[in-house]
Symmetry: none
Subunit: 211 residues, 4 copies
């Protein structure tokens, strides 16, 4: 009844429904972050929420829909976090270094479980080739945002010529490389790490000085 394909004629979701979904998503994030995707069974998630597994399946059509909701939520949170800083940047260099790298690392520090859960989901492999767990559009949007910054900088002459897709992948995965290190050492100095990455990609991208 509830969790079918969303159509416009769906009645407004009740307050309790919104709250329950949010609670379940939050517990799913924690479970996935701490146990890994494979071990994060519905039973585990339900236990953390203090409810029975039936409740989860009442609000989500299945585990896949829950996972999709989790990744939607995490991406939305992350984007909102980064966008706030991104709005008023005036140069591509600032947008790349301060916003994309800086704010993304800040996000990791602020929401380590979110980032970790997302990584665990993304890395957990797909059942049938082609059918992904995470909406590819979400990741694509993140990459597209970074790509547009890079193109902006190349057009403005701030950046040297390079392959945008290669640079996009390198930047994103270099940032994501923080997560396993953060698991090993929760006291990792993220500020310092961000400075290192900024320096690294500043040098990697900037145009050769003309002189």
């Amino acid at each position: 009844m509830k969790s079918e394909i969303k159509t416009a004629d769906q009645p407004k979701p009740s307050f309790i429904e919104i709250a329950r979904r949010a609670q379940i998503i939050e517990c799913a994030i924690d479970a996935i972050a701490e146990l890994g995707f494979a071990q994060a069974s519905l039973a585990q998630i339900a236990k953390r929420a203090g409810i029975s597994t039936g409740v989860i399946l009442y609000y989500f059509a299945g585990k896949d829909e829950l996972i999709r909701a989790v990744s939607d939520h995490v991406y939305a949170t992350g984007e909102g976090f980064v966008r706030r800083k991104a709005e008023q940047q005036e140069t591509a260099r600032q947008a790349l270094l301060d916003t994309f790298i800086g704010a993304t690392v800040d996000f990791i520090g602020a929401y380590p479980n979110y980032s970790h859960a997302l990584m665990n989901i993304a890395r957990s492999g797909r059942r049938e080739p082609g059918e992904r767990l995470i909406d590819p559009a979400l990741n694509a949007a993140r990459e597209a945002g970074l790509a547009s910054i890079l193109r902006w900088g190349k057009e403005s002459g701030e950046f040297r010529p390079f392959s945008t897709p290669v640079m996009v992948a390198s930047i994103i995965d270099s940032i994501d490389a923080i997560l396993p290190q953060l698991v090993r050492d929760p006291n990792l100095d993220l500020k310092a790490y961000a400075r290192e990455l900024v320096e690294l990609f500043d040098r990697a991208t900037r145009a050769d000085s003309p002189g």
Copy 2:
């Protein structure tokens, strides 16, 4: 009978045993590369090999031993592949750019499933803390090799000062970032990709010109 603790008095393994083990390892690599570690069940691996799951357990004491054999084989193959080039490097810069980045990308091109499987194993969460799936020394060795190249370059003045762990993680994960792209587009131009990475990390690491 077969897969007990290896002792020196073990009779020479028969030809068919060697062949079967190799075949099973190969199919396990494919399964892990394509399905992810968690989904690569013995049944899946057996299906790819066209055998029953019992055969796998006839040649390997258990799934854990199979996984260990897989990672041993993959690491050994990868190291052998890279070492050939690495031997005669004379500068840290060459060692980093030509050998580590260049040869590793070559390896990905030559054995994409090996690389992919390895990444999936390494990234799959571990069960109980302390009991790792793959020998941690294997991965540590790879990182240590890269770290020593970086330190060498810093001492020789070829490289600028930077945080070695950050650079190690960024380089390795930037290379590994190739794999999902290769899945999406099997015709990806790896030569060009390698050149881009070389340029990227050359700029990211080299010392400022004194003038």
Copy 3:
């Protein structure tokens, strides 16, 4: 959800849970009594109960917990059965002959499967030394009870001197010897059998008349 570590804050078990657990325990007893411990698989037990094996594991954390529940239940039933008679005995001779032998044989007649299952569990080899299948204290308690009766009789002069452990083992196993005979002939006259055992062990234990 259900069968976790029992803590005081566990909600009252529902009626259906109590009934199911009892039913499963009963079927397990039957299966163990009739097939022997090794052959009494969860599948067999489930078949007798007309349920799927999953149900068993829904109510019991695993086979071990089920077996423990079975032996607890059987020992508790047996002890309750025997204790009623034991309370008011005034001589060691009465305690041995009327209560221990008499009531135990009565118990076998009243609950033949219980006794049989218990014997099968107790006699089934244990996996790893140290980790026993049933609480050794349960069996030890039974033996200790008999041993204390025997010592009481020796001190009071009712019994002749003899090795207590030998007599304990002989009495218990002579009683347990009834069970296979009862399987062969369900109409076995237990009253008469008990009288024979009483006579046997009365003569075997009593002190020589002083005259």
Copy 4:
């Protein structure tokens, strides 16, 4: 071909066949005695014999036939052991106490693994009700021998009147009760144990003195 139903036209078993069967039976006895019946797989038995499981099934039609051969061998050995002493007994009392009890306990001391294996087999439960693992005739023969001694004594006036089957079962199981104790304490004093049993069953069986 080999191990079908024995008929008279079977060619004389070769020396090697006899030797192999004996070797396998011996290893099976050890395995069953030490590991218990359920854990004594063909693989375990083969390992002890230093052969492959196929060999066992070449000489025995299946595990059931092997087990039957084992129990045949054990019973034959035991009977031979006891018969030597039994031949020249002149009173029923001597036959019971010296031969049956005394020699049987001696047998346990001399061949603890034989006795233990036999007990493990006998106690291991049957697959389908009715189909036994051990040829019931073997056990029946042992019981019949004891029964005839008891009847002899009753007729000669040495023994009091009692139920022969009850006494048979009590004597046999009281002797078998030694085995688990011997497992727990391999240094158990069997001589002393035999003396206790002799005293016990002497008193339990002897006729009341007429005076």
